[in-house]
């Protein structure tokens, strides 16, 4: 299959995945107990009660709930392609507007977290993989530990230690560069542990391969062997995981923004969940799904760059 054709296939698959995801969120909205109109009116009035059909009718009409289901579905999915994610139940604004500006700081946080995680994982792996027993054990224990830490735990510890006790960083940093350090670290450390484990396992496996011995027999020193030969092979699985990791980082971002009082979609999301504003939540979920899908496409590209075996048709 030619390269162009493969890219096309991947792009089409990505779009289909998004459509499927959108279908899930659409039908999720139908699961709201009672009717959606009831939920909206309850929110508006701050209390849960039964509403008469006459009271529900205008709400139903305004949001389009009185149309046949298939029309609603197609309208929803069609709207997505035009960038319309629906209307918020509580703010009566388009969801895209609600999410709008808040997306950028979250993306900054997430991408920053991924990059930092990679740097940390690479450093620990290169320094401690397959060396003296103590060093190796130290490295792998550190990774196992950090990989299992929940995001909020890392955040709280970092907050208490570095912002409250030793006042290096601000407790609530907003989007300032200095105030972004702790949130990014909070996201990066557990992911670095996870990626590091994967990298290390592969690194150690690769160092046992014959082609490494061949390099040594040519007179190559240990440090160069690791950098020139082993590294490229061992980052492959970690690259594959990075696509998924980006999606997982968004979950973490929600918590981190909440904890550090940072503006971003995390705040929007939590508020929306509290107010049962399903369209906003769905919208965010879909945006994240889109980010995940795009991230995976990019990951495939990067992987093919690093491992040319996948480039040509074999």
């Amino acid at each position: 299959m030619s390269k162009a054709r493969r890219i096309l296939v991947k792009a089409v698959t990505a779009v289909l995945v998004l459509v499927a995801a959108a279908s899930v969120t659409f039908f999720a909205q139908l699961l709201v107990p009672g009717s959606r109109a009831t939920a909206i009116l309850n929110q508006e009035n701050g209390r849960a009660q039964q509403w008469t059909a006459a009271q529900l009718a205008p709400v139903n009409h305004e949001f389009g709930f009185d149309k046949p289901l298939i029309v609603q579905y197609l309208g929803y999915v069609g709207g997505l392609f035009r960038g319309n994610l629906g209307t918020s139940y509580t703010q009566f604004k388009p969801v895209t507007q609600v999410i709008g500006d808040e997306l950028v700081p979250s993306l900054v946080l997430t991408v920053g977290g991924l990059i930092t995680a990679w740097v940390l994982a690479l450093a620990v792996t290169l320094l401690t993989a397959k060396r003296h027993r103590f060093t190796s054990a130290l490295g792998s224990t550190w990774e196992a530990l950090t990989a299992s830490l929940p995001t909020y735990w890392v955040g709280v510890v970092l907050l208490v230690v570095f912002a409250v006790e030793i006042r290096i960083f601000p407790v609530i940093g907003g989007t300032s560069a200095w105030g972004t350090v702790l949130p990014v670290l909070t996201l990066a450390i557990p992911l670095a542990g996870f990626l590091g484990q994967v990298m290390r396992d592969e690194f150690e496996r690769v160092l046992d391969q014959p082609f490494i011995t061949t390099a040594r027999t040519r007179g190559m020193g240990d440090a160069r062997v690791r950098l020139v030969h082993a590294l490229r092979h061992s980052v492959l699985p970690a690259i594959t995981l990075s696509g998924w990791a980006l999606g997982a980082l968004v979950s973490g971002a929600v918590i981190v923004e909440n904890l550090f009082g940072r503006p971003g979609i995390g705040q929007v999301l939590v508020t929306a969940v509290n107010t049962r504003d399903v369209p906003v939540v769905s919208g965010i979920v879909l945006v994240v799904a889109a980010v995940y899908v795009i991230a995976n496409l990019l990951v495939d590209l990067v992987y093919a760059l690093v491992d040319p075996r996948l480039r040509g048709a074999s």
Binding site: A21, V24, P150, V160, V250, V293
Partner: protein, 287 residues
């Protein structure tokens, strides 16, 4: 040395082959899990106080000998509350994991065994499911149904299922293509017998570690939701609820947030590590 031919001889032989290497990590993990189980079954063994005993003269005390985890804003001993919260937290963890693994096994085995179009459909479904991070899916469900213990269990269960399903499916596919499965077919065994005697046991085996990992992760996810104020609500002593309650005191009374968090982390680590050790033992015995 003569061996007696009893039906369970192979199982006994396997037990003999298991080498119990006592490593410090395993010992510590086992201890933690043991303490956890005691906390769940008989909390009064670990603490004489009551989790609801309010003492307004001793509010917000830092950790000390009499209050190892300090006290909260109502003077309740935090350590006691953590002990009593174990039951609910572990319950959530087990419930969510059971749900997740149930879904994962059904999807993974159906796809792996059936092959063809069924497997392709399931693989695509999983691909879509992966686009939803666990926490976000859980939040979506909570937005729809409102926060409650059941919703949390269902949310975390459904959210984490795709990851396990992919693992199970991969395992089933690997075993299905294994030489010993082909050999069994070549011997003349019926397909159903091959699935029952070879495929299922060998595919399920690595999942022991996955299940314990799942329990640890579920507890973490549930508490994460509570941290956001969307899980189990205070004044329940459930660990997540404790996290939620302690948030406003982070800068002043750090122990209210750090202590329950530490317990969650330790339990998750211990359960996962023990699971991995059990996994290695099982594989070591049979290999």
């Amino acid at each position: 040395m003569t061996t007696v031919a009893v039906p369970g001889a192979s199982a006994l032989a396997r037990l003999r082959d298991v080498r119990f290497r006592i490593r410090p990590g395993t010992a510590v993990s086992s201890l933690i899990v043991l303490v956890l189980l005691v906390a769940v079954i008989a909390p009064s063994v670990l603490t004489h106080r009551s989790p609801t005993a309010i003492d307004l003269e001793h509010t917000l005390l830092p950790p000390s000998l009499s209050h190892p985890f300090g006290t909260d804003d109502a003077g309740r001993d935090l350590y006691t509350r953590v002990v009593y919260g174990a039951r609910e937290s572990l319950g959530i963890g087990l419930g969510a994991t059971a749900l997740a693994m149930g879904i994962a096994i059904i999807l993974g085995f159906t796809g792996g065994l059936a092959g063809g179009i069924v497997d392709t459909v399931i693989a695509r479904v999983l691909e879509v499911a992966f686009a939803f991070p666990v926490l976000l899916l859980a939040l979506l469900l909570i937005a729809i149904r409102g926060p409650s213990v059941t919703t949390v269990i269902v949310a975390v269960g459904i959210g984490s299922a795709p990851g396990y399903a992919r693992m199970v499916r991969g395992q089933v596919l690997a075993v299905r293509n294994a030489d010993y499965v082909t050999a069994a077919g070549a011997l003349g065994h019926r397909r159903s017998a091959v699935i029952r005697r070879h495929l299922f046991p060998n595919a399920m085996r690595p999942l022991v570690a996955v299940i314990t990992l799942g329990i640890g992760q579920s507890i973490v996810w549930a508490s994460g939701l509570a941290f956001l104020g969307l899980g189990v609500a205070p004044p329940s002593p459930e660990w997540g609820a404790l996290l939620s309650a302690g948030r406003m005191y982070i800068t002043t009374s750090w122990w209210l947030e750090i202590m329950p968090g530490m317990v969650i982390v330790l339990v998750a680590l211990a359960v996962t590590s023990l699971g991995r050790t059990m996994q290695h033992q099982l594989e070591g015995a049979a290999r």
